[in-house]
Symmetry: C2
Subunit: 156 residues, 2 copies
């Protein structure tokens, strides 16, 4: 299968699950060594989970199926450019590459706030629409210092 | 309970679950009407889920407990400034406000890539370290057009 075939699979997921009323019109798959190892589709509204975007679902499914928290060596195909949540999830997962079809501007045109979110994430804290405030606690920083010297920690 | 008390709860989660080797040193809670409605802690390595950051776990838990995909009226307390994934999850969830203690710079100092991720998310696609490429398909855009006119869709 070529890249376009994999993308068609991701798009088919977006169509099928939009029609089934599972959530927004978004689908994704994870591919390793030319095989589909996971699928995802948006199921925010049907499962009451605002983090259940297609890419996050596919990444979680791939990690479960491959029994690992690292998707190094994998490719993520998504029917739409990932929002900052899903893009960051892709970074944390370690996938090698992301392929997408629709853009964040296309998503904005049908009412999704992906483009707005990219703007927000790039702003200084005090300029964002969602208030974010610091409550500085010495105990919090002490946990970080203890992590630094923890000998049996698992790095990720 | 005051803001500082809630933050102490989030920090205690970060300490307890770091010590239990569940994952990185991060904890979070969701508060509604002065009551804790959900807890989360990082469990990336113990559950093989790169999206299982404290804030994402707490948001998912709050939505499950409150039986909704909208956390309007809720506050998110997290022991560390959210990474772009968790910040975006907070936007998608609709929480009213985020409180944090450690900063993204503190996280960078103990080896986490939150600060780097903020830089990456803000870059044009072609300048990022994780390759991201477009495969344009007419079918993908057709799904978006069909979503636009879908009469029984659930907006989120």
């Amino acid at each position: 299968m070529c890249n376009k075939d994999f993308m068609q699979k991701a798009v088919k997921l977006s169509r099928d699950h939009m029609e089934a009323n599972d959530g927004g019109p978004f689908g994704a798959i994870v591919v390793k060594d030319g095989e589909v190892v996971a699928e995802g589709y948006n199921r925010v509204t049907s499962t009451n989970d605002p983090t259940a975007h297609a890419e996050v679902v596919a990444i979680r499914d791939a990690c479960a199926n491959l029994n690992t928290f690292s998707l190094k060596g994998c490719e993520l195909y998504t029917s739409c450019e990932p929002c900052p949540m899903c893009l960051s999830a892709a970074y944390w997962s370690g996938v090698d590459v992301i392929y997408f079809s629709n853009t964040r501007k296309d998503a904005a045109e049908i009412g999704f706030s992906d483009d707005f979110l990219y703007e927000q994430v790039s702003l200084p804290l005090e300029e964002r629409s969602l208030p974010i405030k610091r409550i500085e606690l010495a105990e919090a920083n002490k946990v970080f210092q203890d992590w630094m010297v923890k000998e049996d920690k698992v790095l990720y």
